[in-house]
Amino acid sequence: MKKKTLLLIIMIIISIFSLIFVYNDDFLYKEKIIKITNIKKIKEDISINNLGIKEKYTTKEIKGIITNTKDKGKEITVKYEESYSSVITDKYKINDKVFIKDNNIKGLKRDFYICIMLIIFIISLYLVGNYKGLLSIISVIINTTIFYLGLLFYFKGANLLIISIIESILFTTISLFIAEGINKKTNVAVLSTITTSLVVLIITYIVIKQTKYSGLNFNELSFLTVPVEDIIIPELFIGILGASMDVAITISSSISELISKNPKITNKQLRKSAKEIGKDIMSTMSNVLFFTYICSGLPIFILAIRNGFSFYNYLTTNISLEISRFLVGSIGIILTIPITTYLSIKIYKEVSK
């Protein structure tokens, strides 16, 4: 108990120091940063779009003191036009720190806010999960590093799909071993997750090739100069892993539990119980993916509808990729159930013979 409180106090102290550091880290940046000291409204405009919707634009004169580079301490004034809706502009307030490029405001300095979020996340994980919470943070850090390293190889010219497959093996092994320890249950889960994701990969590949990407629109990827096909399949593939792991470990530990309680249990009974457990988890898991993915289509929807575009148009262009992500992920969740059951029965029974 004492150890827990001590560690918490240490974490809070580190957090406070890192917040102070990040708030004052302007010297790390090459771009000019100003701290806004005064904002004055100078002009208001109203613009009307083709549906008759009125939008208010306000031009402001923003005064600020430069906080870094060799001009530190000087005061400068810039003009900034903000809109009521803030679709692409921001509403700045006094004491905000903003980047300046060619006498224009380029954007807010957001590192401080990201730091706050990370601290809330880590401390709440620790408070609830204790030692296990810290483990999951470590697992997140390792996986993100592997993900980043994989992309570095891609930039050097390697095939992204092959990288993703290799990465997926590392991801599953590391995450499951960290979460559940090294034992037979996790071995089965790792094997099932990898098999399932490969099977889903093949299904997705066939469907994509057969339909020649019809009904799928890459608007949101249009900024890339590399061929979209190279990225889309690996992306869908990575999205399967997390949910599939979750289902695989649940099923594999329940089957091992059932066998240890009743070594004489038949394969048929095992399959039936696995299906029962599978039913319970598949519903909530597919909902997790559904809301995590689909909600990101909201801002574009608002823009599209307020511009008079039809819903059908939106469904087939802007959100189609999000829907595919959800569908592929859910197919992964459901396929994990029979595959894990089959592999667990095979491996557990073999050992007990």
């Binding site: 779009n49 919707i53 939008e55 208010k56 809109s83 809706s85 803030s86 679709v87 692409i88 921001d90 954007g107 300095k109 957001r110 590192d111 806010y113 990201i114 979020m117 709440s124 994980l125 609830v128 999960g129 296990k132 919470g133 697992s139 997140v140 996986n143 980043y148 995450s175 979460a179 469907v207 339909t211 608007n219 249009s222 900024f223 690996p234 992306e235 990575i238 999205g239 997390g242 949910a243 792991m245 599978g278 598949m282 519903s283 909530t284 597919s286 997790v288 809301f291 995590t292 909600c295 990101s296 801002p299 574009i300 929807f301 608002i302 823009l303 595919s324 592929v328 197919i331 159930i337």
Partner: protein, 255 residues
């Protein structure tokens, strides 16, 4: 293409269980319709935050009552989800306002340049609504996992005290924590891949990336989903153990 994937999904769900699978598929369609109606209401100019709060309630109702059936487990789960959503909505409101992540970053300009930006709807509120809806799935998942596991513990050993029940609820929570974090992480990485490639092509430095609007909003969105999933654990453990003990006392009084 999505149609074919949807048909494959439906067949697989029916294979696992005809009744439940069909209900689940129907539930997903219901939720999709609710979402679209919500999106439309927001586009009409209704307050997005209020829309999102009511929407979250409806969605959790569909997930829990329609798919899992009404019982003591789903009742306590829904109560816990409401408490978490109310607490987090305050935090999300503050965070979205101070970090100015509303609207679109530079990366999306090409996607949205066919639209006029004069829409007269404050996108700060839209972003708050988006984060709220995004975290509902994972929060409901954690809540129902804990309340049903805790119910099992209680039915197997009715002599446990409130404190003991709460403690075992927290232990169950710790077990699901790691895997839930993984589900979120990989969903996030899958969405994030193109963005990283884009940053690389545009020669963004690490410092440029963490200050960009798109990156900040993605990270804040996923962090809130994670925080929702984490904070629902003690709240569900507390509410479920309380309800179970209360029920037991009532039963004893009647007897």
């Amino acid at each position: 293409m999505n149609l074919i994937l949807a048909i494959i999904l439906l067949i697989l769900m029916l294979y696992i269980d005809k009744n439940r699978g069909f209900k689940l598929f129907l539930g997903l369609i219901f939720n999709f319709i609710i979402l679209i109606i919500l999106f439309y209401l927001m586009a009409l100019g209704l307050n997005p935050i209020i829309c999102a709060l009511i929407g979250c309630l409806l969605i959790s109702y569909v997930i829990l009552y329609f798919v899992n059936g009404e019982n003591i487990k789903t009742k306590t789960a829904i109560k816990s989800v409401i408490v978490v959503i109310l607490i987090l909505s305050v935090l999300i409101f503050i965070m979205t306002n101070i970090s100015r992540i509303a609207g679109f970053g530079e990366e999306a300009y090409e996607e949205i340049n066919m639209f006029s930006y004069d829409v007269n709807i404050d996108f700060t509120n839209i972003t708050i609504a988006l984060i709220l809806i995004g975290l509902i799935g994972v929060t409901v998942d954690a809540a129902i996992a804990i309340s049903s596991a805790l119910y099992e513990v209680y039915t197997n050993n009715k002599n446990l005290s409130k404190k003991e029940l709460f403690k075992s609820g927290m232990n169950i929570g710790k077990d699901i924590l790691c895997t839930s974090m993984n589900t979120l992480l990989f969903a996030f990485l899958s969405e994030f891949m193109t963005l990283v490639i884009w940053y690389y092509e545009c020669n963004y430095s690490f410092i440029d990336i963490i200050n960009s609007k798109t990156f900040a909003s993605e990270i804040i969105k996923i962090m809130f989903s994670a925080i929702g999933c984490v904070s629902v654990i003690p709240i569900t453990a507390y509410i479920t153990s309380n309800t179970l003990i209360k029920n037991k006392k009532q039963m004893e009084e009647i007897a």
